[in-house]
Symmetry: C2
Subunit: 137 residues, 2 copies
DNA sequence: CTTGACCTTTAAGCGTGCTTCAAACTTAGC
DNA sequence: GCTAAGTTTGAAGCACGCTTAAAGGTCAAG
């Protein structure tokens, strides 16, 4: 499969695929007589894994460590450490998001709860105060 | 308070604070006779809010919309929309993280479950297969 | 045999969020 | 008065993850 086809199947731009190759995320593709890259069908799955991992918050550098071009270069403990660290990262992120969401939701409720007889500016002050700003101005 | 002091109290670099000013996240600071910026104590809280919002995944542009320098420029509906959109974003992110975490954890279990009599390379193939790669090589 | 789609490379550009640098001025302590 | 720390500005630089551009080779259809 040539790069355009792979791009279509993976949903990535050809430029992104070449970029991954230069960055070592993909092994240098086999070339045809014309110099064109020629990919095995499998590469679609590899690209999907890369996209998944990115989604999960891995940087390309991390993905490169996790998904080495040379499968035999797997260093078991290092890989496991990376994975476990990432789970911890995700958990930390989840906790932060939960807090942030609660924070924003309470902000929404606070703003919505403006008494009908309160003006906008006054309500704004009230909201600002709740954020920890003292300026009632 | 001068910028160095504000930096200490907020935990940000002076360069970041000036950067926020150029980006419109902070109103242009009042200047002393010497031209030095002079901040009210309140700015510490504003910076904390910015940091919080960033933590929650808001870009500086978004924060700028949410936290206008001029409090009277609040456009109620627009703000509420932004907040509600962000809650939705956070929820989407939470769902993705949950999936990613499950994915990684099952990967960890899979790798750990290597039968004692299976070699590393063979286990690697098994793991790769589970990721959707067919190459048993 | 030309047109147009697809491929190649290297290099430069982009958006985000800052940091660093250079050159100059102010201020604080001794 | 001297020195060191703090501040000013604008411009350039950095890291990440790509995209875009330029200049050209390849290939299939008509």
């Amino acid at each position: 499969m040539r790069i355009g086809e792979l791009a279509k199947r993976s949903g990535l731009a050809t430029s992104a695929i070449r970029f991954y190759e230069t960055k070592g995320l993909l092994p240098p593709a086999k070339r045809g007589l014309n110099g064109y890259r020629d990919y095995p069908a499998e590469t679609v799955a590899v690209l999907a894994i890369i996209a998944d991992a990115q989604q999960a918050g891995f940087s390309l550098e991390e993905i490169k460590q996790i998904l080495p071009a040379d499968i035999s270069s797997w260093r078991h403990e290092e890989l496991m450490d990376t994975l476990r660290r990432k789970v911890a990262d995700i958990e930390a992120m989840q906790a932060r998001l939960k807090e942030s969401k609660a924070h924003i939701e309470s902000l929404i409720r606070l703003i919505e709860a403006k008494p009908d007889d309160m003006g906008c500016r006054e309500n704004a002050s009230r909201v600002m105060a709740s954020l920890g700003l003292s300026k009632g101005k």
